[in-house]
Symmetry: C2
Subunit: 413 residues, 2 copies
């Protein structure tokens, strides 16, 4: 089954919001064996919606549409679909009841705009949306299916998971697509490519390989299609085993793993606790860790020590060390790591101190100079990184490099 | 001038990465008076690239393409463009020299894959890329222009800012598009719509209005087109003044403002310092603040107090308070705020304590129960928020709500 994803909203075309819905939908469709061949975004214009939807329905078996179903006047998707499918709006009573209950339970008055959210084209099947006012709509059109959903991400996700994906799975053919992603860190793209070029050229013809670089990692994606899911998994697994032998330290995870999640699991499995002292990363490592559900089991906390006073008074860094070596130095970052580990009575700690930019650099320590330390009761180690000029990328790369240092240490014990 | 943006990469179609390039490009084009009518993503397939690019060149004056220019075998954009435009690859000597210098300055060996990055189709103009190995390429095709750029965001941005935008501005017509965005917080979408409905219906016909809801804010975008930029700005400005009179407390910023940036500016302007005690927000507020260049001028630091021990021992919260009222309570969050303000000797502080989820809720304090406090030398205030079940959204909404409390307090003095 071939699919297209269409997002509707002028805010996307002027670059005001990033379309995150399409990536999420694409991932879910792929997992369900649906091949996404096009993702496209158009403005909230009646005539554009009609012509593009029509064209997509002629080319694809499945067209998933998000956006333009809100209560305000700039939302025109429902009217455009009525015109395209030559049908009328009619009130969907169960949805109207749900909206009424939603508003009365919150003690809010019901406006006419809210009520109109229950009006749907009379030839669609309604897909219940318990999290919002606009329901999803399922249209059959010849051999193709069009689904219209609200653009609010959590409402769309609920409709996809509870209605669209189950319906697609019940109709699916035997062909499956398997993707397996290997996350690597520590080798630039062209070096990685050189190092694994022999492995790459010996890959079975049935497997395709893609390189996906980002500031967090370079990911290698192995993909294969067929009708025997177990067999495809086995063939991919064998190749990953060969890859592991070539770059054992660089592979840190698979598929939805993140560096923070991998470190979190290593800490949980060894019943160890973690504390952080962040200067240049400014709370980003804490945020990456605490975004993981259940992180309170191993994460005690952190000190974001932006000023030197906080480094001295909260973390106990000797003022002389800062005076002699500067806050961005091996001596200070190691003292920060030891200080926060003791302060928060933790088994492990990470500390960062560097110049994220855009200002604050000197000739000796230009923007992008970052020290990272890790510490445990009988071990403290630090490392100097030299990144570039971009503040945001420096924060991200410092955070991931710091977590990777702890990962390698935890694995080496 | 009408434009389309095309991103190439199988990783987008399987939802492995979110296409952030298109939003950035769309924003820059809009600012340059170019009307973006389509954003679309396709896989790295020779035949698809050729047919889609051809179709877009027939429909639009300007087609901007990113992706598929890397050194590895899955990158096929350059070859597809050669086939489409019927031309050959030739070595671009200045680019080859640059690549050689780049590698030797880093002490890295030059591989054949790296060298091949200097090969370009012989009928394009080369757009220099000082930040990477793949240069941009500018093709004229009848009345239309096609620009191919690498997909790595910071390389693409450099080529856009240094080459593409200046060239477009030098060719641009007199028609300008003006967008002005008003950021609001604290009113749900349908309530906001009701409250400003009279203002909305009295807007001049030349102005269009859009509602853009997100967990951070509901943004109102006013747009207008014409040939007198100053006049358009004036008309929009007058309407915003009227809007401010209706919802004065809810408007917190404009255009690229964020809640963190607005609070940062208020603190800087009053020469005040800030410290944070974060429990449920886990470092996210610190990260939002420290992502702002120059934040070290007013931000002393924070304590991410995930465990009760850290709340007691680092922030000085009385253990009895936690025992009697629980960590998620008015008493504890206020004590955290006072504690961190004193610890870091700051003028202001914010503290958060809540149940972000997915677990940890009770009947009395379900997931989504969040206490926020703000404190200054002679003032401490706290507020209870009741959000939903999603961990990520709870972290975001708590962070923005906390910053908004401080914003309103700073404005009221």
């Amino acid at each position: 089954m071939n699919a297209a994803i269409l997002t509707i909203g002028q805010e996307i075309l002027i670059g005001q919001i990033i379309d995150t819905n399409s990536a999420w939908i694409a991932q879910k469709l792929n997992e369900a064996g649906v091949n996404v061949q096009l993702i496209t975004s158009i403005p909230d214009e009646n005539s554009t919606i009609i012509s593009v939807v029509n064209e997509l329905l002629n080319k694809f078996n499945l067209v998933l549409v998000t956006g333009g179903l809100g209560p305000t006047s700039d939302d025109v998707t429902k009217l455009a679909l009525c015109e395209l499918f030559d049908c009328e709006l009619t009130t969907h009573q169960p949805t109207l009841e749900r909206i009424k209950n939603l508003f009365s339970s919150r003690g809010l008055p019901l406006t006419r705009l809210n009520e109109m959210q229950a009006d749907v084209p009379d030839r669609c099947e309604v897909l219940d949306n318990p999290l919002g006012t606009a329901p999803g709509m399922w249209f059959k059109h010849g051999d193709s299916v069009l689904v219209s959903m609200p653009g609010v991400p959590f409402e769309m996700k609920s409709i996809m998971e509870n209605h669209v994906i189950p319906r697609l799975l019940s109709q699916s053919t035997e062909i499956v697509i398997v993707h397996k992603t290997v996350h690597t860190f520590g080798l630039p793209e062209s070096f990685l490519a050189d190092k694994i070029s022999e492995w790459e050229s010996n890959l079975p013809k049935s497997i395709s390989l893609a390189y996906l670089p980002s500031p967090n990692s370079i990911r290698l994606r192995l993909s294969s299609t067929g009708n025997n899911k177990e067999l495809i998994h086995k063939v991919i697994y064998e190749q990953i085993e060969k890859l592991k032998a070539i770059i054992p330290d660089n592979i840190f995870g698979y598929d939805n793993d993140t560096m923070a999640l991998v470190v979190a699991n290593l800490l949980k499995n060894s019943n160890s606790t973690l504390a952080l002292a962040e200067s240049c990363t400014g709370g980003n490592i804490s945020h990456l860790i605490t975004s993981i559900p259940g992180s309170s089991a191993f994460f005690n906390g952190s000190v974001v020590a932006y000023s030197n006073k906080v480094k001295e008074e909260v973390l106990g860094v000797n003022a002389k060390l800062i005076e002699e070596h500067g806050a961005v130095s091996k001596q200070v970052v190691e003292s920060m790591a030891v200080g926060v580990r003791k302060l928060m009575n933790s088994d492990y700690s990470i500390a960062t101190s560097g110049i994220a930019g855009p200002t604050g650099g000197t000739q000796a320590k230009p923007v992008g100079t970052i020290w990272v330390a890790i510490s445990s009761r009988n071990f403290t180690e630090s490392k100097l990184f030299k990144f570039g000029n971009d503040r945001e990328r420096n924060i991200i790369r410092s955070s991931i490099s710091a977590l990777n240092m702890l990962r390698l240490h935890l694995l080496s014990r």
